[in-house]
């Protein structure tokens, strides 16, 4: 099982001091978080994408490539990549590039985005969110699997004889998760392709999460990718920890009460009962997150949000350290032990390469595109229809 952290890189004033980090400080902290996450044994660092203040993550591949150069093992992922407003061609290029530069340590979580004006800023219509996610991903999926793509759709200019470069590393596309909180169509989309489904349940009751995951699992089996319990599921999580649970409660309360996402709403006590947020000792976090699989089945990835609501740098780094050293070793051991052998781990580049090689033989480093010509373009008479 994979454990990690995800961040939306919000710039929020620290409610206890009023201090607001600069964009530069926030970006530097993000890099520090990722490198620390690797040092304390976490498997995944995932970065959100936003195109509006108070967030500073408009360019995830730049950030992830930089982090990739400073780390060796950790998987670089997204939370989420905006499949609606980004050009799927650019996603195909950028993440294949990142995949090469980091030796395959890349996967993506697709999302539609939750900020209305981002759609018009990028020339799209929010009312077409699902249609955009469906069409754009269908194109992205082909661009990573077919060397030459002819394509026409509703939302972007048509492509004739287009080759997205670089081709995915070892001929294997980055693994994709689809993230959605409450759109069953997205669970359906993930199931259709046999991709992963990520439910960012941090602000939702588990009863809700359970239904979305159940739908995804059932449809995953329906589309013939394996049994329902073999579907690839990821969950969000949220915690604030101190050795002594009362210290955690006292210290986190002002951050909770003023957090942009839930301030002014339910009390921290209600919210911790209703959602996966745990404010307490590492043991309490362990206890709570050991129960998630009882609701959604054995799953493959658990990410935690630890750095929002204006928490200062030192505190954030302490949280990552506690997660990596005290919480995850126990969760990993217990959750791996309860998972039946027939339920797979989350795909990695290595496992995807092994699966591809089993199917079509070893990838030939001298491989040329379907056109037989890597360099000089196409002759019209050689053009083949892209395979589906």
């Amino acid at each position: 099982m994979q454990f990690g952290i995800f961040t939306i890189a919000d710039i929020t004033p620290d409610p206890t001091t009023g201090r607001v980090p600069t964009e530069h400080e926030r970006l530097a902290l993000m890099v520090e978080e990722a490198t620390l996450a690797e040092q304390v044994g976490l498997d995944v660092f995932a970065l959100g994408e936003h195109h509006n203040p108070p967030f500073v993550t408009s360019s995830p591949t730049t950030t992830l490539a930089y982090i990739g150069a400073k780390t060796r093992e950790i998987i670089l992922s997204t939370a989420t990549t905006l499949i609606t407003t980004n050009d799927p061609v650019k996603i195909a290029e950028d993440y294949a590039m990142l995949q090469h530069l980091t030796d395959g340590r890349v996967d993506l979580v697709m999302g539609r985005g939750n900020t209305g004006p981002v759609y018009p800023w990028f020339g799209q219509d929010i009312r077409k969110g699902i249609e955009l996610a469906v069409e754009n991903y269908e194109l992205l999926h082909r661009l990573w699997r077919e060397d030459v793509v002819n394509w026409e759709g509703q939302f972007r200019t048509p492509l004739q004889q287009f080759t997205s470069t670089p081709r995915p590393l070892d001929g294997v596309a980055p693994f994709v998760w689809h993230g959605s909180i409450r759109s069953p169509q997205i669970a359906e989309q993930a199931a259709y392709y046999g991709d992963g489904f990520f439910h960012n349940n941090i602000f939702w009751p588990i009863t809700h999460t359970k239904q979305m995951v159940q739908l995804y699992r059932e449809r995953f089996e329906h589309y013939g990718h394996g049994t329902a319990d073999q579907a690839i599921v990821g969950l969000g999580g949220q915690a604030f920890m101190r050795k002594n649970s009362q210290d955690a409660i006292t210290e986190f309360r002002p951050y909770f009460d003023n957090a942009p996402v839930y301030g002014g709403g339910p009390s921290m006590e209600d919210f911790t009962r209703q959602t996966p947020l745990v404010v307490g000792s590492p043991e309490q976090v362990i206890e709570r997150y050991l129960t998630m699989a009882d609701h959604v089945g054995d799953y493959q990835r658990q990410l935690f949000l630890l750095d929002h609501a204006g928490l200062p740098r030192k505190t954030v780094l302490e949280q990552i350290e506690l997660l990596g050293t005290e919480v995850v070793p126990v969760l990993r051991k217990e959750l791996d032990a309860r998972r039946p052998a027939t339920v797979p781990d989350a795909p990695t580049h290595a496992s995807l390469v092994a699966a591809a090689e089993a199917e079509r033989g070893a990838f030939d480093a001298t491989y040329k595109f379907e056109t037989g010509d890597n360099w000089t373009g196409l002759r019209a008479e050689d053009a083949k229809e892209g395979r589906r």
């Binding site: 469906v134 269908e138 359906e188 602000f203 739908l215 839930y262 339910p266 919210f271």
Partner: protein, 241 residues
């Protein structure tokens, strides 16, 4: 029309599920009194069809309604209220008029729940205020809101000023006594119920066997999902294949 009380409810007939939302703040409140009168009238006019009624004082859910606005998921006490509206054959919604509109609590409830739950659902509107000068609030504030939510509104909405509760004979207070308007509105609501068969499409047609009303999206998977996921569309349709 038969005298309402002359027909005993028939226990073999599937009951009409009626949800009554009352947004009054005081106890006792005239809003609740109007809601109760409307409920009694609907029950009486339903004749042989039994009515199972859920009465909701929104005041008791004020905190969770605010939380729902902020978190988008309902708390433990509010959740069954929303489910009841979702399953209701008809809704009676009564609010006090504050500052020439519905009470903020009433509006927030409507704003906080999924708007799909009103689609095609028969709704009878009621409002109360100190004087009859506020009576148009129903027509310029409440009716457009529910029209936009695509509820099936009873043509007669019932407004009760304080004086209406004393003036129950012709010639006093209003030209139509409150009791007469309540009876007419109740009949209209039942006509709407007869013309629909449960707006969520997932329930049996009403006991009288009237044909199904507005069609809801067909559910193509049966995995025990909450109705909030009823907009599921299989991938083949999504890809346009």
């Amino acid at each position: 029309m038969t005298t309402p009380t002359s027909t005993a409810p028939d226990s073999t007939v599937e009951p009409l599920r009626l949800v009554v939302l009352s947004a009054g703040l005081s106890t006792p409140s005239s809003t609740r009194m109007l809601a109760d009168e409307l409920t009694r009238a609907v029950t009486a006019e339903a004749g042989h069809r039994p009515v199972s009624t859920v009465v909701v004082e929104l005041r008791e859910h004020a905190h969770e309604i605010t939380d729902l606005m902020l978190t988008r998921f309902p708390g433990k006490r509010l959740s069954p209220v929303i489910d009841a509206v979702r399953r209701a054959d008809a809704v009676i919604a009564v609010t006090p008029v504050f500052n020439i509109g519905p009470s903020g609590l009433f509006k927030m409830f409507v704003d906080a729940v999924d708007k799909e739950i009103w689609n095609g659902r028969p709704v009878l509107l009621g409002a109360t205020a100190g004087t009859a000068r506020h009576s148009l609030a129903i027509d310029y504030a409440l009716r457009p809101m529910f029209a936009s939510l695509k509820a099936e509104l009873a043509p007669t909405a019932v407004f009760a000023a304080s004086a209406d509760f004393g003036a129950d004979t012709e010639g006093q207070g209003d030209e139509q006594p409150l009791a007469a308007r309540i009876r007419r509105a109740a009949r209209e609501l039942l006509l709407l119920v007869a013309g629909t068969s449960g707006a969520d499409g997932g329930d049996a047609a009403d006991a009288a066997g009237t044909p199904a009303g507005p069609a809801a999206p067909a559910r193509t998977v049966a995995v025990g999902l909450d109705d909030e996921f009823a907009d599921f569309v299989p991938m083949g349709s999504l890809l346009g294949r």
